[in-house]
């Protein structure tokens, strides 16, 4: 097979506060694939997502991250976003004084500007967002509330999926999107992800639990430990981990 991966990580090393977290990370993700990254706490899963997103607190020491063949490590976080990289945060932050509607429209228009498309005014945007709200079963009341302010854990996670769907991202990294969700919310979020996923997109799920993978079927499951991927398998690997834990891999 001779096609370019949507994401290719080569020997990536990265640190925060001079603490090396990613030691030697290698990963290839192709369009149409769902990957799951599992692993014990502190193994570097969240760091991986932040480094791909371009969080300024993280320093890349060496290695490469190619998105459709383009090295993204030198790009600004917003440029990566415009290319179609999306991060669903583990702990979505509250933004005081900014309504969800304004935030969503601004994000949507920022992408349109990057794509040389005209911006949408509030009235034109409304039907676009209403359509997407249905996918995550969110009430339009959400739009007038401030971003994540006073949202329950489940609402925050659904809001992340809403943004992913709205921005129609090509590569989405979902950092523990399932944590803190009850069964019903997990179903809604999973259905949202499945509806969104298609042959042109790729998704990386960072999770601790097999449960999410019952709803969103991964093509590959990776185990990360100590800043590198130490084992790769299929969905069955996740089931095995659920029973045996991580100890046996060491």
């Amino acid at each position: 097979m001779n096609k370019t991966p949507i994401l290719e990580i080569k020997n990536l090393k990265a640190a925060i506060n001079d603490n090396e977290i990613l030691k030697d990370l290698n990963l290839k993700v192709y369009k149409g694939e769902v990957h799951a990254i599992m692993g014990p706490n502190g193994s570097g899963k969240s760091t991986f997502s932040k480094v791909i997103g371009g969080h300024p607190a993280y320093e890349v020491i060496s290695g490469k991250a190619l998105f459709n063949g383009i090295d993204i490590l030198e790009l600004e976080p917003e440029e990566r976003s415009h290319l179609g990289i999306f991060l669903a945060f583990q702990y979505p932050i509250e933004i005081p004084g900014v309504s969800n509607e304004d935030f969503l429209r601004l994000a949507y228009n920022a992408k349109r500007i990057a794509d040389n498309k005209p911006e949408l005014g509030p009235l034109e945007f409304l039907p676009v967002i209403q359509e997407k709200l249905k996918i995550v079963n969110m009430s339009p009341v959400f739009l007038s509330r401030n971003v994540n302010e006073g949202f329950s854990g489940g609402e925050k996670k659904r809001n992340e999926i809403l943004q992913m769907v709205l921005l129609n991202s090509k590569l989405s990294i979902l950092d523990e999107t399932d944590s803190g969700l009850d069964i019903d919310a997990l179903k809604i979020v999973s259905e949202g992800i499945n509806t969104f996923m298609n042959e042109d997109k790729a998704i990386i799920l960072i999770t601790h639990y097999q449960r999410l993978l019952d709803y969103v079927k991964p093509d590959f499951v990776h185990v990360m430990q100590n800043g590198e991927i130490i084992k790769t398998g299929t969905a069955d690997l996740a089931k095995e981990l659920e029973i045996k834990g991580y100890e046996w891999l060491r």
Binding site: T47, P56, P77, E78, S81, L87, P92, G97, V98
Partner: protein, 486 residues
Amino acid sequence: MPYESKETSNTVLSKLLNQSYKYGFATEIEKEIFEKGLNEDVVRAISQKRAEPEFLLEFRLKAYRKWKQMKCPEWHILKFSEIDYQDISYYSAPKVKDTLNSLNEVDPELLETFEKLGISLSEQKRLTNVAVDAVFDSVSVVTTFKEELAEQGIIFCSMSEAVQEYPELIRKYLGTVVPIGDNYFSTLNSAVFTDGSFCYIPKDVKCPLDLSTYFRINDEKSGQFERTLVIADANSSVCYLEGCTAPQYDSNQLHAAVVELVAFENASIKYSTVQNWYSGNKDGKGGIYNFVTKRGLCAGSNSQISWTQVETGSSITWKYPSCLLVGNNSNGEFYSVALTNNFQQADTGTRMVHIGKETRSRIVSKGISAGKSKNTYRGYVHINNNAIGARNYSQCDSLLIGNLTNATTFPVIRVDNSTTKVEHEASTSKIGEEQIFYFLQRGISIEKGVELMISGFCRDVVTELPLEFAAEATRLLSLKLEGTVG
């Protein structure tokens, strides 16, 4: 996993925050300036220079003698080196002919200065819906639309002119709201004030234009002590705006102004300030010491005084625009945004004194603190025992940007009767690296993100400003907080 990194967070935000001050230029101009120092002779000389009537000289001397016995207040939490009052010049004026008959006689250099500040005074280009009194150091340079306003019986002129033309009004009202001895800085002002604006709106007149004063400090060695007096007679209304800038010097300049407002029955005064004095450099060197006393008297029933302020400049801001609600059913309002950055210190808030029955007051204070600045809200709501049925609502919000800044609030409420209703709300929030990254990850630029957060935070206050000022204020706040991140 802890991913907050102070270092990184501060670099990103400081790039964003440190914008250069675009009004920092100084005007080279021939001027008349007094020797530094303060004593009775200087007070007399100021009065003489301005050919003032005897009562005003006595007013000044009384204030000076009182001030000599007073001490600089120490209840604030501001840190600054002691001010040497003998190292300040108390009079600095651009040299002009004795009387100005038209704009043509104003030094073109001065007109150009105001032009550069965005305040066009020439007939062709001046704002059509705002009358401007332009004050440069110690004197008023020019007042626009004076004649047009006079047709309605409205007096709008410099304080110097008012002293000459309307001495009875000055004698009647000066010092009635902020009496001599009220506080250290206002008393100093009473002794040495040089110019400022005077405004009188007669009965039953709604002022058709917004009135405004633009204060410019130019000289490095002189203080600015202006005095503003606004009188709204029964059933009248006026909207007053005030803007301020100063050049960039390494030394500190003292600005100690006094503003007095009087509203009679059914009258309304809306007083707005956008303060952008030079705030010092990023290491805290230089900047204006802004010690201002602003107070309004709601003398008549159903009168209303509303203060709106956007405080972005000055090295130190010490200011509590207040309302004395004497008339029954009178209404006092205070809307404030105070933004501090680098080493700026702001200690600002309001005092609402309820004396009349059914009096109402509303306080909305928004503090934005960035850099290593200190931002303090200080509020005092006093409901006297006769203020039956009085109501107060206070809201006091702080927004912190970065990890090194400091916000404090001191709300004091004193209620002396049981028929009143008092509400107080407060909140603190933070713009940190994680919020910024959230915006960036969604493709939104840092400028847009911060603008959105700031404008959301300040919305309740900015909407109180007159339209021209709202745009100015939003632009100013953006200027102070936005920049390209390299």
